[in-house]
Symmetry: C2
Subunit: 277 residues, 2 copies
């Protein structure tokens, strides 16, 4: 890829004037009944959500687990092809949280970047830089490293030890690599830690889960932007999945997804602009 | 599943008198030329290795990354079906190192335990018990948690902080859950840490990578058994992948794999028996 992931993300922020990322986590049982029995139900459902929200987002984040559970790898391949063809310039971040070393990591990088042709992938840092290097070697592909996740038990290892917690080690290490393809996952549900991560990693983009179905609301969004933006007032990708893709039921579900996505994009803009005044 | 993973593993150790696990990491470019162009080359290659080594092992460990990179999910499904049908009672541990929370973790558990019908899966603990619970809820399926991995940069997060490192927290937490389906990944390349993990987790089985292509030899094996066995002199599954599956080339590759596997099984037995005398 000619540009870095960072460049593509900045172009996407500028074009969309949006920091919203729609996460695509399709569960067959939750799909509208006119789709749920189709062999390519996951593809068809996600494609409609994508087409209904593409002008509102800076990125899409399909979650590979939901496709793997169904044996729907081909749906995921075709979904990503569709996003690139119909909505060029919108980065696709595959949520995979892969982590392994050496020859195995190279296989995962090949899977995520070559087979699925994604712009970026989430990876797990527990095995050290070894487990990230094979991804980072793919020129122009983004590597979004788990730093402080949004879930209740994330502190258990990530906040140890208190005087120099793992999540800040991760942030410093990735910032120190100074590669315009690295980014961090930092949950909206831990606003103080997010502020610390920004101080440790002044230029890296943050993928911020934890908004919507995971509980983060307007207050969290304000805090995310108050303390999480980079020196350019950017650097934030706010992900929401279930609150958007399951906003409606029946044949009009995509319109309902669009409405919730638009409301959230506007709420994110207000959080961002409030910071600037 | 009627029995626990721990029970099935103990039965397998007793029946095979072996602590060897053969890892199945097939790379198309490395396969014998009479196979490498076949559409189901990965399946055919691994099936021959499995059939040639089944009486020498206590477990098989297919690595899902190698199948995912090739789009060979169906090969993996059929390979595991074959192991269960042709070699009943040998546990299949899928190396996946998955880690995510809530609804996503449930999807990975469904993928690994239901779609692929594996006996156990490796998981990554970086996101806390949240990210392990969805796997542990599958009755009778094994959850093999990364504790201290065998790669060069594993210390970076796993050995922090020095006075109570993450890998010992992982060991204590899993031992404390007292579930006969939990196990730990502890690399042979860090023998002192492996001894500490055994003190922290007296009854959990260890999956021990790092032998063979990763550098661990007879000395490491002796240390693994000297300090790593449980109170019954068991509790160890030694994995070797590339040194076995790529032992030969051409049409006799499976016989070469068998020879190397047999030598390693015997070397492991000597390491084990030396401890007992």
């Amino acid at each position: 890829m000619a540009d870095s992931f960072g460049q593509r993300l900045r172009q996407s922020w500028a074009r969309s004037d949006s920091a919203l990322c729609v996460g695509l986590d399709p569960v067959r049982e939750r799909l509208p009944s006119h789709l749920s029995q189709a062999p390519d139900a996951l593809l068809r459902f996600c494609r409609e959500v994508v087409d209904a929200t593409a002008d509102l987002v800076c990125a899409f984040k399909p979650n590979i687990a939901f496709f793997n559970a169904e044996g729907a790898e081909e749906d995921l391949e075709r979904l990503i092809e569709h996003i690139h063809a119909a909505h060029p310039g919108i980065p696709v971040i595959v949520d995979a949280k892969r982590g392994d070393v050496g020859s195995t990591a190279r296989m995962y990088a090949r899977e995520l970047f070559e087979r699925y042709d994604t712009d970026a992938a989430t990876v797990n840092p527990f095995q050290g830089w070894d487990s990230i290097a094979a991804f980072a070697e793919h020129e122009g592909r983004g590597v979004v490293v788990l730093c402080h996740t949004s879930n209740p038990t994330s502190a258990w290892l990530q906040e140890q030890p208190q005087d120099d917690p793992a999540y800040l080690k991760v942030a410093r290490e990735m910032q120190g690599r100074d590669v315009d393809n690295l980014a961090l996952v930092v949950g909206a549900t831990f606003p103080e830690q997010l502020a610390e991560v920004r101080r440790a990693a002044p230029t890296l983009p943050f993928l911020v889960p934890g908004v919507g179905a995971q509980g983060g609301g307007a207050d969290e969004l304000r805090q995310v932007f108050a303390s999480g933006v980079d020196a350019n007032g950017q650097g934030i990708v706010v992900n929401a999945s279930r609150s958007i893709i399951y906003a409606g039921t029946g044949k009009t579900y995509a319109a309902a997804s669009r409405q919730v996505a638009q409301d959230l994009r506007d709420q994110i803009r207000r959080a961002r602009d409030r910071r600037q005044t």
